[in-house]
């Protein structure tokens, strides 16, 4: 079963992951993804009736929790040192439509 992604689907995907793509990039992505999806389609042939999905590889590990004690604070200077733009102690971004 051939799986050929359409340009529309690539557009939709690139919007969902917020990655802008040039026409050239889109063409490459379309070709690569279609090929890989084609390959991955073999999974549909595998009989998984009554087989539960594997949500955790460590089957016995459950209910991992910690005490409610504050700590491990990230100092603001360290946080902002990696920031592309900051102002007044806040991360600075272009204006956002206010609701």
């Amino acid at each position: 079963m051939a799986h050929e992604l359409t340009e529309e689907e690539i557009d939709k995907l690139s919007h969902l992951c917020r990655i802008a793509c040039s026409a050239e990039e889109k063409a490459k992505l379309k070709a690569n993804l279609s090929k890989i999806l084609n390959y991955v389609d073999q999974l549909r042939q595998v009989d998984t009736k009554d087989v539960p999905p594997c949500n955790s590889v460590l089957e016995e590990l459950k209910s991992v929790m910690r005490d409610d004690e504050p700590g491990d604070i990230l100092p603001r200077e360290v946080f902002l040192a990696n920031a592309p733009a900051h102002v007044g102690g806040m991360i600075r971004v272009p204006p956002v439509i206010k609701f």
Binding site: L16, R18, N55, S56, L58, L61, K62, S63, V64, M65, R66, D67, D68, E69, P70, G71, D72, I73, L74, R76, F79, L80, V87, G88, G89, M90, I91, R92, V93, P94, P95, V96, K98, F99
Partner: protein, 482 residues
């Protein structure tokens, strides 16, 4: 507007987000505190640093289970967390960790009075999830503060079972009350620790299916919420009355306080694809029967239980009890006072009417003013014991408000004008003088006009500036009138 007999039936569901008052965040150890400088209460997890991993806060789980028990819900023995993907600057990872299909709390109900009638509202489920940071808007840029990012939220999703703004408000207040009573949240709508979103649709009464609904967000008080719902119901009815076949366009609205109507914020073009899938950095949450039962058995007194106790055991009126129950801080203040005073009704009155009244103008409450509850209780006791009259007590209350730490007994002892006159001969002298001055009243009394008696008592009290023990005055006056 009453819609009871109208052909239109509003259908309302509420999603209430409650911030839990844990010391640290849900998956991050950073402090859970409101109001500090931006980006002070942050850690590597709640700022989405690469290489950071979530670790679940056991106290948040406990509070969620407490809430579930308080609403008689089923506590899931096994629940899990999921990633919900969407992009926004206030999201540190561009996915939220929430519970999609296996929430910790399923079902449940709250019972509450709605305009005098007891009603029960069903809850669909409640789940844990982490809050986002905050976006602050300026003209040419926006600033992001992650102090709030990662704070634990319990999202309570009701069934679409409310049919009026009053029902919705009552339900929301009941949820708030329960959260306050189990001590799980500050429930402060202004600060954002309690947030309510409504989903509203309207249909013809008896219509089997639901029509399209819209969502109203960002209502910052119960009063505004009621107004918003009322106005939206009216808007939808008006649309259908013009053309019943209209398919309402789904969208998100906010309530405009000036226009007093709901205003469109954004359309829902297509269903958001959040691509939910199980959070691989967390393991399933498995709760034992013992753990759940222990929490259920150690629940503190819940609002409906306390209301019952106030009315049935303490003899408070429905109204007075309701007033206290819905204001937890004030109610706790009253509970504190009860330790020092036997007359619950009087204590209630003195707190909710006399002291609240005096402090309202100052924008204070008895708690915020710093008047110890036991002082108010003592004041009531002083009246009960006959040490002072009710009238004097009012003056003492004024003094207590002016100087919040003063003990009422000391106030009374320090002021000669407050000393009750219990000297029999002194009172007798007063009574004699009043009787001498008011022969007409005596005659009126003797001819059966009871009002004259009250007048005479009043005159005696006036003479002594209210200091005489009313019981003694009555005794002596009655004797003298024989």
């Amino acid at each position: 507007m009453t819609l009871k007999h109208s052909i239109w039936e509003p259908v309302i569901g509420l999603e209430i987000h409650v911030q839990l008052n844990t010391k640290s965040k849900l998956f991050s150890r950073a402090p859970n505190r409101f109001g500090d400088e931006p980006n002070i209460n942050i850690g590597v997890v709640c700022t989405g640093q690469p290489g950071s991993l979530p670790v679940l806060n056991k106290e948040a789980v406990r509070k969620a289970v407490q809430f579930g028990c308080a609403i008689d819900a089923e506590i899931a023995r096994v629940s899990k967390f999921d990633r919900k993907s969407y992009f926004y600057p206030d999201s540190p990872r561009n996915f939220q960790i929430t519970q999609y299909d296996q929430p910790i709390i399923r079902g449940g109900r709250v019972e509450t009075l709605v305009e005098g009638e007891m009603k029960s509202f069903a809850i669909h489920h409640a789940h844990l999830e982490d809050d986002t940071g905050m976006l602050k808007h300026f003209t040419s840029f926006a600033g992001v503060d992650y102090n709030r990012a990662g704070v634990p939220l319990v999202e309570v999703v009701s069934e679409p079972c409310m049919h009026s703004a009053k029902e919705a408000a009552a339900y929301a207040m009941a949820i708030k009350s329960i959260m306050e009573y189990i001590g799980a949240s500050d429930c402060n709508m202004e600060e954002g620790s309690l947030r309510v979103d409504c989903n509203i649709s309207v249909r013809k009464r008896g219509e089997g299916t639901l029509r399209n609904k819209i969502e109203i967000k960002n209502m910052n008080s119960f009063h505004n919420m009621e107004m918003a719902i009322e106005s939206e119901i009216a808007r939808q009815i008006a649309i259908y009355e013009k053309d019943d076949s209209v398919q309402l366009t789904k969208g998100t609205y906010r309530f405009d306080l000036e226009k007093k109507e709901t205003v469109l914020m954004r359309m829902k073009e297509e269903a958001d694809d959040y691509r939910y899938f199980p959070e691989p950095d967390l393991v399933p949450l498995v709760l034992t029967h013992e753990y759940i039962e222990h929490i259920r058995n150690t629940l503190p007194e819940l609002p409906t239980q306390r209301l019952k106790r106030y009315v049935e055991e303490l003899g408070l009126s429905d109204y007075a009890a309701g007033l206290l129950i819905n204001d937890k801080p004030l109610c706790d203040y009253f509970e504190e006072g009860l330790n020092f005073c036997k007359n619950a009704r009087n204590l209630c009155n003195w707190i909710t009417v006399e002291f609240v009244g005096r402090l309202k103008e100052k924008g204070l409450t008895p708690m915020s003013a710093g008047i110890p509850a036991r002082h108010v209780a003592k004041l009531v006791e002083l009246i009960e014991q006959g040490t002072i009259t009710g009238k004097i007590a009012k003056l003492v209350a004024d003094d207590m408000v002016a100087d919040v730490e003063r003990d009422p007994l000391q106030i009374v002892q320090a002021n000669p004008d407050y000393q009750p006159v219990s000297d029999l001969s002194a009172i007798e002298a007063l009574v004699d003088e009043v009787l001498k001055e008011n022969p007409q009243s005596i005659a009126d009394f003797k001819s059966g006009k009871t009002k004259a008696y009250a007048f005479l008592v009043g005159q005696v009290m006036k003479l002594c500036k209210g200091k005489a023990d009313p019981a003694l005055v009555n005794k002596i006056l009655t004797e003298k009138l024989q």
